[in-house]
Amino acid sequence: MAQILILPKLGQTMEEGAIIKWHKKEGDPVKKGDIVFEIETDKAALEVESFFEGTLLKIVVKEGITVPVNTPVGYVGTPGEKIPDAPPPVPKVEAPKQAAQKVEAKKADAGSPAVQSLSVPVAKAVPAAARVAEVPSRLFISPRAKALVKKCVINPFSIRGSGPDGRIVEKDVQAYLDAQGYGKLKISPAAKKLAAKEGLDILKIKGTGDAGRIMIHDVERAVAEKPKVMSKMRQVIARRLTESFMNIPHFYVSVSVDMTDLMVFRQELKNSGKSYTVTDFILEAVTLSILEFPVVNSYTDGVSVSLRNSVQLGMAVSVPEGLVVPVIRNAETLSMQEIHDVQQVLAGKAREGKLLPDEMTGSTFTVSNMGMLDVDNFNAIINPGESAILAVASTKPVPAVHGGQVKVRQIMKLTLSVDHRVVDGAVGAAFANSVKTKLEDIELWKSLT
């Protein structure tokens, strides 16, 4: 009996996923632990390993198709074996091209499972992708008009129809062409052909050839600039950031931290065999400060406020396709060494794209560290469901007053963004200074490491 490969549920919140790549072809041998396919959820792209041994007999769900979790996607067995007749559940959506765009747009709009537990009031924002795929469902156009549109390689949607019920007739297309100066347009035959193939409107392409003639490289540029649907992860990032920035009144407060002594201390630790990253110190200092100022570890909808009694510390990690925020669970219960270990594991998984959706949900406060990117200062956008985020800039040698004298010191700027509805300026300032003071207090670190 052939074994069924299913679309795994890789997290509490995962309801569906798209197969983005099959690593095996039908007929390929499959060993236990082989990566058979890759899926993409709202959160990440993940590789799926086989639990079975045999031959990939059939691929049921092709690349680019989104299906609910636990849907059979393929069968593994011995060649010639009979595959169950029962047709697999109908895939939720066909993905190629336009259809995919609509589907993904719709999905993103429906509210990402990622924020489900936080019940953020979601502004009904139209995702960018929807606009890309925005094509009137039906165009009333006569066959002759349609043929002319096709021949001229133009987009008919801006043509006004004068026929019955606004139907576009050949005369309308002709009038449109005249009004747009189509007759004066010069285009090389190869350029026109490519534009037609790519579904571009040549009236929208600027020519750079002799006397403004549209040449092949002009069309190639237009093709390259054509709006493309963003990855699901990018769409979620876009939606959540917009939602946060539009709904949360951000307030910022910056402090300069003198890291000179801590850097020396860190080196000493390293020499004695204990390696900590700067991030470790920051995460620990933040955790300790949150315990003093619980209000920054809260969430408000503008009516009520929920203060969390544990620290779920999110750390923003940049990955090739965007940004992920793995979460250090119950940071307040962890020792400095444990924070270091968990942080290393999560960051590694994030960079390899191996984070599971559950490892990226439920943070209550986030640290965004751009220290390695050589920046003086930046403001971060609060993660929906939280009320503060700390932006960590690079540590740089700058002239600073130290002991009453101007000296070259290692200075790092921290900027705290808070939800002003729940965190007041004074509290924000006190929290930021608390983190600063901790980082500058070497005696504290001596006791913690």
């Binding site: 090389s188 035959p189 190869a190 350029a191 052909k193 490519l194 193939k197 040449m215 092949i216």
Partner: protein, 467 residues
């Protein structure tokens, strides 16, 4: 001190058109020439060689016209007279260019130009004395290139490069051609047509290596079988020595000997004495003056065109760049130098080539189609008794755009211009196929080859379908 808007250094096929164009656009123009007006192309390159080749080609046909029902008796040639005709043609063209320059009000300075600063150029005569100091707005460097004769080749009157070869009034009975590039192959064919025993030695794996293999095969076969040229490739000629009566060298274990040797293994830019450093102009490692797409050097008011800028070493490329440079200096709208440059090789048979080759497409993994039509199936070629060769289109499989064209056979150097026009205009194979071509002509081959790219050739048997 004399003042000009534009000064051109070098009056070759790049320099003099640049000067004329600049003058047409209203500039005061000076041109500096240290040798002869017209440069290498007119005096020691394109024109004199083609004059000689016209004679050798006709002589060869006279001797091989029995198939056409003709007999020229015992045809003979007089190389001295041929050489004199060459000098006459060159002289006539040279004075023609001089007249054109004068007619356009371009002032010609005889001497060597050398930068004294960014906009000052000293002209010195052959005696080393300064003739004049020019103050100029913009400058176009068009000093061209010269044959490279590396140090390991002995200095001897039996070993010449192309310029010295053209000064000969007697054709050697046997000749070693060192270098199977364009210049080498042209001289080899010319000498062989006149009965000289010719050996071509090329270090690379084949002659004219940048061309497609099928084009090379056609030429090499013809050179070896029709003209009796020995073509040795894949190894260098070593131990080159000049004796009293012969020049010799070792090709592997084999000794190659001839009365004379022509060295045609490359050309280097002429920049010596230009004083580039005084103007702050950069050179690259190979000594060429690098330019941007608008032919500008590292100094904004100084342009470099033609061979000296290390681009395509062809007279017509220099002409195009010269005109572009002049227009960029004086025009309101900046224009980039043309990238599509056809090349022509006056071998027997001739070769014309423009744009993408099949082998380049392969290296770039481009998705192409090829349409080929053989002269053997062409009415006019058969009627003319010139039915060797073919034309070929390289076509973008996605858009049907013509990307490259290659012709080998009679009149290939003339035929290639239609292809260049079509490719520059970004025509598709379908359109060339639909364009009515005169019958019977050689040009019809382009139409047929375009059809062939779609597998719809009229005058070729259909390929067997394997499906």
């Amino acid at each position: 001190m004399e003042k000009f808007d534009v000064t051109v250094i070098g009056s070759g096929p790049g320099g003099y058109p640049a000067a004329i164009r600049a003058a047409q656009l209203g500039a005061s123009v000076a041109i500096i020439e240290k040798e002869e007006i017209g440069g290498t192309c007119l005096n020691w390159g394109c024109i004199p060689t083609k004059t000689l080749i016209a004679s050798s080609e006709l002589f060869h046909r006279m001797n091989h016209s029995a198939a056409l029902g003709l007999s020229a008796g015992k045809a003979a040639f007089d190389y001295t007279a041929m050489s004199k005709r060459k000098d006459d043609v060159v002289g006539k063209l040279r004075s023609g260019v001089g007249t054109l320059l004068k007619g356009n009000g371009v002032k010609v300075f005889n001497g060597t130009g050398s930068f004294a600063g960014r906009n000052r150029i000293a002209v010195t005569g052959a005696d080393g004395k300064e003739v004049v100091m020019i103050e100029t707005g913009a400058t176009i460097i068009a000093t061209g290139s010269e044959s490279t004769v590396p140090g390991f080749i002995p200095k001897d009157s039996r070993i010449v490069e192309s310029k010295a070869f053209l000064a000969l009034t007697k054709l050697p009975a046997s000749l070693i051609v060192l270098g199977g590039g364009v210049i080498g192959c042209e001289f080899a064919c010319m000498a062989a047509q006149l009965g000289s025993k010719v050996t071509v030695v090329e270090m690379l794996e084949d002659i004219l290596i940048t061309l497609d293999a099928d084009v090379r095969r056609e030429l090499r076969g013809s050179m070896e079988k029709q003209l009796g040229i020995r073509v040795l490739t894949g190894k260098p000629l070593e131990k080159i020595a000049a004796g009293k009566t012969v020049v010799s060298g070792m090709f592997g274990d084999e000794k190659v000997e001839a009365e004379m040797m022509i060295v045609a293994i490359g050309r280097r830019p002429v920049t010596a004495g230009l004083g580039l450093e005084k103007a702050g102009i950069e050179k690259n490692k190979a000594g060429f003056i690098p330019v941007d797409e608008y032919c500008r050097t590292s100094v904004a008011t100084i342009y470099a065109i033609g061979d000296v800028n290390g681009g395509i070493q062809l007279a017509h490329a220099a002409t195009s760049q010269g005109v572009t440079a002049a227009e960029n200096i004086l025009g309101r709208q900046r224009r980039k130098a043309e990238k599509l440059v056809p090349s022509c090789i006056f071998t027997s048979p001739e070769i014309g080539s423009v744009g993408l080759t099949e082998q380049a497409a392969k290296e770039k993994s481009l998705n192409i189609k090829v349409g080929k039509f053989s002269f053997a199936a062409l009415g006019k070629a058969m009627a003319s008794g010139e039915d060797r060769g073919f034309v070929k289109w390289v076509v973008d499989a996605n858009t049907d755009q013509l990307l490259g064209a290659h012709a080998v056979g009679a009149h290939a150097t003339e035929l290639i211009s239609e292809a260049a026009t079509a490719i520059r205009a970004e025509l598709t194979a379908e359109e060339i196929g639909r364009t009515v071509h005169c019958h019977p002509t050689f040009s019809e081959a382009w139409m047929e080859a375009a059809h062939a790219a779609h597998g719809a050739c009229i005058h070729a048997a259909p390929r067997r379908k394997n499906i």
